[in-house]
């Protein structure tokens, strides 16, 4: 039996060290977690607010929209509308966890178990993060991005940089590669690449060449339409990548900025797809670690009660008719599913054996969970592992709202034998990025004619783009493209709506 890690609510840096070591012991030996080295940073509430407004990253380039975010959050924090998170954790190596200085010793323990082990393990092992993020390189890359954008502001003026960033931000959600390419991401090489690009330009610059008459260019119309599209990599759903590679009149630095925004969007891509799993994992891990610490007598009863209080708040799920309802709480759903899996693995009912033959009664909770944490994302996780028992416990039901149906909103499935699979499928679909983001692709460019860029939005279930916002985004896109941009919304072959936007005269690119 180890002694108490701390008494009361006070802590100092030695306490944090002890707490970390105690958590690590349990995390490694008992849960078999595999984590990046930890870096724990203690920050003030003000710094937490700062971090909020730069998407949680320790350093970020400057842009007015973060200031807007900050102003908004500061106002709601001051009015008491919003509490601050206990912690922010960054997917980097070493894995940085920010702890608020106001937290009590118990909270710090909770937060270390949650972030420095739960999230950390998930970041390091989940296939999406492995595929799409480069934890070793991200901090250096952000440093480079910040410096690069600052240098651009000096060279090309703040306004021009700001406009480019505005436009790139508007298209951020469509700047993501959804399928892995040949090359894995190497953020460290990015800085070198940008430098090479500039040096090459400088070395290759020869003013005389401008005056040399060029030979007649080959007649491009001979290329078949198919071939041309293939050369341009069309259709392309990553609009930012398409702009970076093919927009005719962008300056090199603008391409680099677009590339930066694209990389950052890509970095956050896995986080959006694994909210439930990520929080579920972290919450499950902190729950296990805290319980074990208490069992071993390293945390006093009083402090453990304090922990249970905040844990309960974290995993609280209001029901749909509750005033506090604002969607599923990823902590609640994730934690409940992890615990449910633990139950299925150790103590299954007959029903569970039918539904989950692979894991029911297998006995090795940690092994099963580690495998799940590594190989699933929210959509597939819920699609596979939401059990009937949990559907009953949450009393989940599925509503189908077809505007054409005058009867109202139909209750399509509830927590009964006929409904389990449908409820599960629909819930899993709510977490499917394929359904969350509008499916918009660049389909063609009229190279022979007016260079109009053509995009297509393939609608799903009849939902179309919000017109005001769509026009604004297209305006940004046209400014970068510098020629007309057309977007058609289609349902199969039926054209629902067409937008055509021309670039503004004081366009981004010259």
């Amino acid at each position: 039996m180890a002694g108490l890690l701390f008494e009361g609510a006070d802590w100092d840096f030695h306490t944090l060290q002890r707490v970390h070591d105690a958590c690590e012991e349990i995390a490694r030996k008992e849960l078999g977690l595999d984590v990046y080295p930890n870096q724990i940073e203690v920050i003030t509430a003000e710094q937490m607010l700062d971090a909020y407004s730069s998407v949680g990253m320790p350093l970020f380039y400057k842009h007015w929209s973060f200031g807007k975010q900050f102003a908004f959050q500061e106002a709601s924090y001051r009015k008491g509308l919003m509490g601050l998170a206990y912690e922010i954790v960054i997917n980097s190596s070493p894995c940085i966890s920010y702890l608020m200085e106001e937290n009590t010793a118990t909270m710090q323990t909770l937060v270390i178990a949650h972030a420095a082990f739960g999230h950390n393990h998930f970041f390091k092992n989940n296939y999406l993060f492995k595929q799409w993020t480069d934890a070793d390189g991200i901090l250096d890359y952000l440093e480079f991005a910040k410096g690069y954008i600052m240098a651009c502001e000096e060279r090309h003026g703040r306004l021009a940089v700001e406009r480019t960033l505005d436009a790139a931000h508007a298209l951020m959600s469509h700047g993501i590669d959804r399928y892995p390419g040949k090359k894995t991401l190497d953020l460290r090489a990015e800085e070198k690449r940008a430098g090479d690009r500039r040096r090459h330009e400088e070395a290759a610059f020869n003013d005389l060449w401008r005056t040399v008459p060029t030979t007649k260019t080959k007649n491009t119309t001979t290329l078949s339409a198919e071939r041309r599209r293939a050369l341009l990599g069309l259709p392309q759903e990553n609009i930012l990548r398409f702009l970076e590679k093919t927009a005719p009149r962008l300056h090199p630095w603008q391409r680099e900025i677009i590339r930066i925004v694209r990389h950052i969007a890509q970095y956050f891509y896995p986080q959006g797809q694994t909210k439930v799993m990520n929080e579920g994992t972290a919450t499950y891990v902190h729950y296990r670690i805290m319980s074990r610490l208490h069992q071993q007598g390293q945390i006093s009863d009083g402090n453990f009660l304090e922990f249970l209080g905040s844990h309960t708040n974290v995993v609280f799920q209001p029901e749909f008719d509750d005033r506090r309802w604002s969607g599923f709480n990823p902590y609640a759903l994730g934690f409940a599913m992890m615990q449910d899996i633990e139950r299925i693995v150790t103590n299954p009912e007959q029903e569970d054996r039918e539904w989950f033959p692979d894991i029911a009664g297998k006995g090795d909770v940690e092994g099963v969970l580690r495998d799940i944490w590594a190989n699933y994302r929210d959509e597939s996780f819920i699609g596979q592992f939401l059990s009937p028992a949990l559907i009953r416990r949450f009393r989940l039901f599925h509503l189908h709202d077809n505007p054409a149906d005058t009867n109202g909103i139909k209750v399509d499935a509830i927590h009964d034998e006929r409904g389990y699979r449908r409820v599960r499928r629909e819930l899993s679909r709510q977490y499917d990025v394929g359904f969350i983001d509008a499916n918009i692709e660049v389909v063609d460019v009229d190279l022979a004619g007016d260079r109009r860029l053509m995009l297509r939005h393939s609608t799903v279930k009849g939902s179309q783009l919000n017109e005001t916002d769509a026009r604004r985004v297209l305006q940004h896109l046209a400014d970068l493209w510098t020629y007309d941009v057309a977007l058609t919304e289609v349902d199969g072959d039926k054209v629902l709506k067409e937008y055509v936007v021309s670039p503004r005269t004081a366009a981004v690119a010259a």
């Binding site: 940073e41 007015w64 102003a71 700001e162 709202d401 909103i409 916002d469």
Partner: protein
Amino acid sequence: MAIHIVDRRLNPGSKSLENRQRFLRRAKALVQGAVKKTSQDRDIKDVLEGGEVAIPMDGMEEPRFRREGGTRDMVLPGNKKFVEGDYLPRPSQSGGKGSGAGEGDSEDAFRFVLSRDEFVDLFLDDLELPDLAKRKLAETEHEGLQRAGYATSGSPANISVSRTVSRALARRVALRRPRQEDIDALEAELAECDDEKRRTEIRAQLEALKAKFKRIPFIDPIDIRYRRFETVPKPVAQAVMFCLMDVSGSMSEHMKDLAKRFYMLLYVFLKRRYKHVEIVFIRHTDRAEEVDEDTFFHGPASGGTLVSSALVAMTDILRTRFRPADWNIYAAQASDGDNMTSDSALTGQLLTEKILPVCQFFAYLEVGEAANYTFDMPDSSLWTLYERLRNDGAPLSMRKVSERGEIFPVFQDLFKKRGAQERVA
């Protein structure tokens, strides 16, 4: 495994300051409008506080492709009584419960808090002040030096001898530095002593003492302490600001607003120079009374116009509450210029004999309707009177204004005077 714990609390805060400034710059026109509106509703004394402003999101939106409408499917928790196939009525508004997040729609006002400095900055901008004046107003007040303990480093001129010596003494005692008297005594003993054995003993003792004496200096650099000084804002004497206003029927809302801005500006200015600023509001028709700010600007009043009544009230208050020896007295009068002709003599006399001699600054602001160009305004009776006084050498600042931008020049005299004082000092 290695773990790093880093204390970031001491890192410079407000990393978001730059972003925030960019945001404010971008939203400048909108924020300025909001500040203008807010400052109109505020009391004069509150003008220097920051505060929450709301601006429309015009031009500040961050558009994204968003989808809406169509067939929707959702899974919700907490079913109590529904069974498959039930129909629920649609919520009445078309938006549904899905939307409703804080800052989504462009029509929503965006609320945030401006700091005190940001607010004053924008407020001054809104008054269309020339840059020079803005700088003067915005600059912090005079700083004075104040003793603040001791420091281990500093300029030789600031060495604190007594502190240094007493520290040296403490160190010498602590390290048992031999005293000169002990050495002298031993030497004397040595000189007198004949016993060879004793002499060697004393010599050894002496040597040890002398070595130690050498090793431990009388004053070591670590003993030295410097007097530390801190700059503190110098408490400046107090000031009182008299706001005199004609509230007879002929003063329109626009004129009162102009007057209010004028008072606010004077207040901002005084607040920068004086720690403590009192404001006295005197409104008058054909008789004067001291009122609170709200009544001053918004209370109804009617009657004729006797400027001297206000001046009499002011002298009374001066005599009873604000002795010129203790207070810097500033007065600002706003009027549309009407005055009974028979009152001129008395007004002139009061001003030149009683008021102007004790005032730092007396400004007269003649306010006109927005449509009027100032140069079209015929000289009013009060204007004629004051102009005559000024020509006789009375220190009066006077200006006709019908637009906000014209307010500031009234203060030019004030700034000039201040510049001269500074040069003298």
